[in-house]
Assembly symmetry: C2
Homo-oligomer: 253 residues x 2
Amino acid sequence: MKKIESVKNPLVKRIKRLQKRKQREKEGLFVIEGFHLVEEALRHDVEVQAIIAEDNKNIPSNHSGAGISLVTEQVMKEMSSTETPQGILAVCSLPRQEKPLSIKERGSYLFIDGVQDPGNLGTMIRTADAVGTSAVILGEGTVDPYNDKVIRATQGSLFHLPVIKGDIEKWIEACQTKNIPVFGTSLNEGTTHTAIEAQNGFALIVGNEGAGVQEKWLEQTDQNIYVPIYGNAESLNVSVAAGILLYHLKLFH
Amino acid sequence: MKKIESVKNPLVKRIKRLQKRKQREKEGLFVIEGFHLVEEALRHDVEVQAIIAEDNKNIPSNHSGAGISLVTEQVMKEMSSTETPQGILAVCSLPRQEKPLSIKERGSYLFIDGVQDPGNLGTMIRTADAVGTSAVILGEGTVDPYNDKVIRATQGSLFHLPVIKGDIEKWIEACQTKNIPVFGTSLNEGTTHTAIEAQNGFALIVGNEGAGVQEKWLEQTDQNIYVPIYGNAESLNVSVAAGILLYHLKLFH
């Protein structure tokens, strides 16, 4: 197979354009980088349309169906969104449509209200996966989960559980209809988290790094909770707080 | 006061050079950016040598003793390590010497073994502050806490508690001499963290993002623990795991 050697090859431009959310949504495509992520995508039913690699050796064995292009190191560097590219990337299809709202008995849910930092969102998706959360719901104003930094921070967890853009109001109602309690988080309103017992099912809402969870959601929750601060920090990082609360609330059978 | 208007002013170069660890250590100086951090540094006995701002209005009122220089927006942009500078930065003295090793009765300690990501280190220092940890010890191979990204992620917590470069082996011994149990963290060796009760005093060791805590330390601990993974994630982000464990282990009186 002939290698693409020119950084002016149209493929290079096309892939770079997918670094922008608008273009991803227009084309219904997103890009992942690195052997581990490509392997995870292939393993978890992501539609991988094309794999671009510096070398055949670096391609996961389960790649059937995906077109393969080989490129030089320089071309890879030009396409990559990282400073030290890992020699492989893949173009994947975005999920075709929003999944319908459906709440499981004893399900556990993480609702994310306007988190802006890609590292924070990715880390929370990874933690939600680790704790066995049923789904992560991304409210309006939350950073796009198909942003390259988010995907990197999920370490593949983006492909392990449903991560759905949705209307937080509808999801709160849907949980409450099924008697699944909804917990809001606040800097200091409500109850210390340790006063709440582990739950058979629950939804947890975490909010924007600066503004927290919007007041309108905090008014609709069953209870608002916070992780107490004992030292001089003003608050915890949102992905750390989410980790503490998810592991605290989840009842492990 | 006359504003510095030229990006060729020697001050600009001098401040930019402090983005490098070697230069910081050579000059005994580090740089912080943003109103909140400068205010925190002034409030917590950091020796602030110089404040550089776009405007007198943006300078914290408690700045006595620090020299002030005004600069244009363009000069600030040139000096800043962020894409959207906040209009103020300060040059501070590094702590003059390593603080002596001293363990408090009922103290709680976070030992960090080779964490590389500045965001992770900064977030852990912030969490250690929030939970009321006595000190954070940075073992060999850990990213410099005076790196601008670390400082930003600490949100000021770097100035709230001792953050000390040290020899993890000596700190393990010092804790054990005072009957403070030392817990190592491992992906799956040892005990689930929930099997351990909250402690009057403890030390927790967390490790490098890829390699974890070095085996030689795991052999010297009183017990090794892990946060169980229930989903498909291979591991937790180290700063999330540290948050869960610190809040779990700390006994709140």
